[in-house]
Amino acid sequence: MPRKDFIAIDNFSFSYGAAKVLHGINMDIPEKQVTALIGPSGCGKSTLLRNMNRMNDLIEGVQHEGDIRLDGKSLYDPNVEVISLRKRVGMVFQKYNPFAKTIYENVVFSLRVAGRNKRSELDDVVERTLRSAALWDEVKDRLHTSAFGLSGGQQQRLCIARAIANQPEILLMDEPCAALDPTATLRIEDLIRDLKEQFTIVIVTHNMEQASRCSDLTAFLYMGELVEYDRTLKVFETPKEERTEAYISGRFS
């Protein structure tokens, strides 16, 4: 039975130095579902996402209040190793960013850093992962060529493959299609729908249609506050809040 509060965000506030960007967010993200975070630029949706695998730790002068719990366990527990946390929470970035390595090495990166170097295992993972990322047929003949030889959409799918290779539980996607053309975007969206069978996906997007097409739940953030959070259909068709409605209908962005 999938957990309803797989990621539990509990009165979470966050600030970069003096600038407070998240104000007491409360939301539960269910397991094996796609949850979209939408909102205008600067609303804090990316910050919230990046807190789910503590990527914001890399930035100087950040502070947080409240808590985020993953499967009931706090991310900020002093006993939590950030590295093992990140092994459970994969991440895909806005701009596709493959490493200057071969396609193969990109996919197995997370396994190699975890000390898994057995050739047969890696080969299996590469095939399985690239199939999951719907990239296998396109690249199976050139696994050992540079990842930069791929098209933008393929590179982003490779980044998704890279993020899921080590079987994380959660996949965070920070505007994964922002740098892609419409065709490539559609393919990624298909992929997202396929991947939710295996992973809990949280996706930040600017694209309302994308949110409506591929997410199960949608959260609308505005000025660092969670305005509305419900089933996607409900948010888009019968928003409770006026601000949500205004945003969705394109009156501000």
Partner: protein, 726 residues
């Protein structure tokens, strides 16, 4: 704006090329051969035995065994006879000529020997060009007690206060010793102090003799090809050595070369073997050993003249002529004469040489060879120098006397440059690169803002200050603390590594208290303790491992400085490569650090974040992302650091002994190409071989960095291609 930049860039390239061409212009003459121009032949009608000439090459004289010398005037065909009265009515059977003193030694049929000096005197008269007057100064005759019959060979060795005349007669061999008292008032009378009869000491027939120019030694060649070497020792002639220059046949000529250390033995084809005095291992007496061999020049009676300026000499046989140089072993010029010379001479400035033929022909050749001692072999090959027991690479450009043989091998300097660079980089690369990685990938930005400018201030320290501190303060300070330093170099990295290994095992709750990049707060005291321990344990280690046993007393002393030479056979100097490594490393660290840190900091955050998001530890991010992506920049940093170290001058001038040794021993000094230029260029006469050789050193330095940077640039482009970002 772009125009200004373009013009500026072009100007820089032009300037570099300008420097390059200036250097090239200075060194090209080093590689030119001698220029010899034959002039017209003058006829005198006498059949000369010797020919001599004044310092300026203006008035050659011929002596043919009679009672006069024939002096040629500057003008075509004009000649003047100068009488030598005491030679009237005697039969001259042997003649030799000493060009240094313009002295003709003669031996007579009645067994007497004597000599006269041709005096050249410059006369300056108002409104007239300088004239050279020639006169003859006769010297005493000496009757020989030893032997009988006519004199067949005579040689006058003039060493100033001590002189020898070596004589070979029909029967018997003798050496007359002369002495001259010298005081403040001037030279006193020349007195005969003795005569040594060598007839009994050389059993075979002696055919020729030559006395050395210092009046201390004679060589006797016998008919069976042996050469006997006698040396004056405490007023008596001792036979020191017998050797055989040519298998089974005597040398046709034996001639001392400029400096009196080497003798050229010439056979009838003009084939030459040069023998130089050297000190064999374990001996105190200098003996002759063959150092050079030159091929034949022609078939006939050999003629020979040594330059009085350098180690060049003119030799000929038949019609063949060659100007050769002893040190480099090179034939500077080769040609054929219009007639077969019977005597040759070189003027004092080595700008002209003269041939005299059997029918009294005299031909002047102008010789232009300003750099006879240079050449590829002299600069880069092993050369057998006078006094050496084997061919070596050696740099010793100046000496105490005019007849010094310059040793111009650049090899010890190139090795010195590379050695200094090697030890400096050995010290600086690990520190600078690890510091750059730490600063770029680990250090919190707030600290980075302090560290980076601090390192840049380090780069602004003038190298003369660093060199001064290294030579005057650091070198004596660490001289007796070598074991402590070695131990510290070993302990500090070990402590850091152990700390790293231990820290990852510390429970997360403890580690949590330190912000990422501030773990050094824990490491620092450990490093200080480790360093202090290593430093204080140094003397203990010295007592255990570095004990020197005095060979004469058997006493054991714990001193690394004494132990090192005894254990390895290498020297230990106070100002050594270790000191240079520290001082030059100090200058190189900020260069490498700054550039490498910039390269690492410019690695896109998206990549490092992606790697971190995939569960890579900080160190794994460094290894898999930071270093590969920044590798072209890191490579540039290393190359610029290398260039800085190779070209560094003041630190090496001040902190090394500037000894041009050819070894990699860390505890000896070095002389680098750049230091060599700095030290010697102010003293080199512009246009001299020495001066131009220093420029050659500059070119080698230029090419060294140019080639290395070129190769590095190609490698860097490859790295960039391999790790390029979309």
């Amino acid at each position: 704006m772009t125009h200004i930049i373009r013009i500026g860039g072009l100007a820089v390239i032009l300037a570099v090329f300008g420097i390059f061409f200036f250097i090239l212009k200075e060194i090209i003459p080093l590689f030119s051969k001698a220029e010899v121009v034959a002039e017209s032949v003058a006829k005198t009608g006498t059949s000369p035995k010797v020919i001599g000439v004044d310092e300026w090459g203006e008035r050659p004289f011929l002596y043919s065994g009679g009672s006069e010398i024939v002096v040629l005037a500057g003008e075509e065909g004009a000649r003047q006879a100068v009488e030598v009265p005491s030679l009237a009515g005697v039969e001259v059977t042997a003649v030799s000529y000493d060009p240094v003193h313009h002295r003709v030694a003669v031996g007579l049929a009645d067994g007497r020997v004597g000599s006269f000096v041709v005096k050249y005197e410059s006369v300056f008269r108002e409104g007239e060009p300088r004239k050279v007057d020639v006169s003859v100064e006769e010297e005493p005759w000496y009757e020989l007690e030893a032997g009988s019959g006519a004199v067949r060979s005579v040689s006058y060795g003039d060493g100033g206060s001590k002189r020898l005349i070596s004589v070979v007669r029909d029967e018997g061999v003798a050496v007359v010793q002369l002495a001259q008292k010298r005081s403040l008032i001037g030279a006193g009378k020349l007195t005969r102090v003795g005569e040594t009869d060598l007839s009994e000491r050389i059993r075979t027939e002696v055919i020729s003799t030559v006395a050395s120019q210092n009046g201390q030694a004679v060589l006797m060649a016998t008919a069976d090809g042996q050469v006997h070497y006698f040396l004056m020792d405490a007023g008596a002639l001792d036979e020191v050595q017998t050797f055989q220059p040519f298998e089974g046949k005597p040398p046709k000529r034996m001639d001392y070369l400029f400096g009196g250390v080497s003798v050229a033995m010439t056979d009838e084809s003009g084939q030459q073997r040069v023998f130089s005095l050297f000190r064999p291992e374990g001996s105190n007496t200098r003996l002759f050993g063959q150092t050079k061999e030159f091929g034949p020049v022609g078939e006939g009676t050999p003629v020979f003249a040594s330059s009085l300026r350098n180690k060049s000499f003119l030799c000929g046989a038949g019609g063949g002529l060659a100007v050769r140089h002893l040190t480099s072993g090179a034939t500077r010029w080769e040609g054929t004469a219009e007639f077969e010379p019977v005597a040759v001479t070189i003027d004092g400035k080595a700008e002209n040489f003269f041939l005299a033929g059997a029918e009294g022909q005299v031909q002047r050749f102008s010789l232009h060879d300003p750099h006879p001692e240079s050449g590829w072999r002299a600069f880069f090959g092993k050369v057998w120098y006078e006094g050496g027991s084997e061919p070596v690479h050696q740099w010793q450009s100046t000496g105490g006397s005019d007849d010094f043989e310059p040793k111009l091998s650049l090899v010890p300097l190139i090795i010195g440059s590379l050695k200094g660079t090697f030890y400096a980089l050995l010290f600086s690369i690990p520190i600078a690169l690890l510091a750059a990685v730490f600063s770029a990938a680990f250090l919190p930005p707030a600290m980075k803002r302090v560290v980076k400018p601090a390192m840049e201030i380090m780069a602004s320290l003038p190298s003369v200050v660093l060199g001064f501190l290294a030579g005057i303060w650091l070198a004596p300070l660490i001289e007796d603390k070598v074991p402590s330093i070695l131990l510290t170099c070993l302990v500090l990295p070990t402590v850091a590594l152990l700390f790293g290994a231990g820290w990852s095992r510390v429970p997360i709750q403890v580690r949590h208290r330190f912000e990422h990049g501030r773990e050094w707060i824990v490491l620092l005291p450990l490093v200080l303790i480790g360093g202090w321990l290593a430093w204080s344990l140094g003397p203990v280690i010295e007592k255990w491992f570095f004990v020197y046993t005095d060979p004469s007393t058997g006493k054991a002393i714990a001193d690394f400085r004494l132990w090192w030479p005894q254990a390895t056979g290498l020297s230990f100097d106070q100002r050594n490569s270790l000191v240079v490594g520290f001082a030059m490393g100090f200058a190189v660290i900020p260069v490498i650090f700054t550039i490498a840190e910039d390269a690492l900091s410019n690695v896109p955050r998206t990549l490092t974040a992606a790697a971190a998001a995939l569960g890579a530890s900080r160190w794994q991010v460094v290894r898999t992302i930071f270093i590969p992506v920044a590798s072209p920049g890191i490579f540039s940093a290393l190359m610029i650091g290398f260039g800085r170290a190779v070209g560094e001058t003041m630190i090496v001038v001040m902190a090394t002994g500037n000894t041009p040794v050819k070894e990699w021993n860390i505890f000896s000094g070095m002389r680098t190409l750049s230091a060599n230029i700095a030290v010697e260029l102010p003293e080199a006469a512009p246009g001299s071989t020495h001066y131009r050789t220093l420029f050659l050193g500059a070119l080698v330095l230029f090419l060294l960095t140019f080639v290395l940077n070129g190769v590095a640039e190609v490698l860097r482009q490859r790295l960039r291609e391999k790790n390029k970002l979309v």
